[in-house]
Symmetry: C2
Subunit: 223 residues, 2 copies
């Protein structure tokens, strides 16, 4: 199903990166790789998903449904990221949705196996701690930005972040504008209007539905 061995794939995953060859072998034996088509829901709120899922290729969107029924995009996960941890730590059910954004190869590890590795391999637990700690930090950032900054400023910060992460001023939105808007805590119309305003004054240049060229990063960081 893949030109690389399962062992090799496992060794590339950040949370397993400190394991030795024997340990990697053992994990590889327990892992179930699968290719999921674009748009497939991996699990939804209320599901009892017993697997830790690790992304080998593709992208996964994680979102929640507010009580009043609106979708809130929480984060987008890519190669090397894992998801589903909340349902085996604490043994509850999922409270969010996970959907592939494109065809993705994902390995699943049963929670019993995972608990086993956690108790025997401190490096796995430590790597997970690192990841969760970083996620917490970035979610707290999102929270304070949504309540404390106005829409235009959030858009500007987001574009600058994309530019920084990609290392270029010609960025491509990882998700649809509607989803980016949700991630930024605003409606799609507002996001569209802010972008249009930035283009108006020559700060950015929109190309197609996903492309944005940042012409004046200085001006962006000032807004």
């Amino acid at each position: 199903m893949h030109e690389h061995s399962l062992e090799h794939l496992v060794s590339l995953v950040p949370i397993f990166s400190k394991l030795d060859a024997d340990e990697v072998n053992e994990v590889a034996k327990r892992v179930r790789p699968r290719v999921h088509p674009r748009g497939e829901q991996l699990y939804g709120a209320g599901d009892d998903n017993p697997y830790l899922m690790i992304i080998h290729s593709g992208w996964v969107k994680v979102s929640r449904l507010t009580e009043s029924g609106h979708e809130q995009v929480i984060r987008v996960l890519g190669v090397g990221d894992f998801l589903g941890e909340a349902t085996f730590i604490g043994s509850g059910v999922a409270d969010h949705f996970a959907v592939t954004l494109e065809e993705s190869e994902i390995c699943s590890l049963h929670r019993d196996d995972m608990r086993d590795y956690l108790s025997r391999s401190p490096s796995v637990a430590y790597k997970m701690l690192e990841t969760l700690s970083n996620r917490l930090e970035s979610t707290e950032n999102q929270l304070s930005s949504v309540t404390g900054e106005e829409a235009g400023h959030r858009v500007a910060s987001y574009l600058l972040r994309l530019a920084r992460e990609s290392g270029t001023n010609q960025v491509t939105l990882p998700i649809s504008k509607k989803d980016v808007a949700s991630y930024l805590g605003m409606k799609a119309e507002t996001f569209s209007r802010r972008l249009a305003a930035l283009e108006e004054v020559g700060t950015v240049r929109l190309s197609g539905n996903r492309g944005i060229g940042i012409l004046d990063p200085e001006a962006l960081s000032r807004s």
Copy 2:
């Protein structure tokens, strides 16, 4: 300094609850207990705080400063909770503030010692994972509630949560109204107005600055 032994205190802390007597002893040897007066800042954004802090008594408020300078209350920690983990996992500097809300006894563990326990004692790592996972979940909840629900609804949900957690309909705000408002992602004036509106229709009864009696929980959950 305290009528209980340090060992006893350590054994009461959730993340150390699975340790055996010898391990508890060892942790106790490395721990530095201290009593902090009300209002003391334990650390601030930008500080390199090398300690994991564990609360034995009292309350600690964790908040952030948005880019535009507004304070955003993230969470309130109580007995048994820990803080400061972000600065030893990932080895960065703090990006938030921690302030005691009242006189609090807090034990500090140096990050080197903590890393040591993490690598030797899987139960400690697992307990920390549990906590971080729960915090992540609740912060995600806050996020989607702030963007998806309107102020009145957030106030109602919050009051119901306080009532549920305390097991009574006569609740006491753990922090000032200004801080609660910040936690709920609104201005103090808005919070005040929502409470006044609820009192107006006989759903709640305000008493003093911190006391709220919930007269009609049914009506609250409907708003």
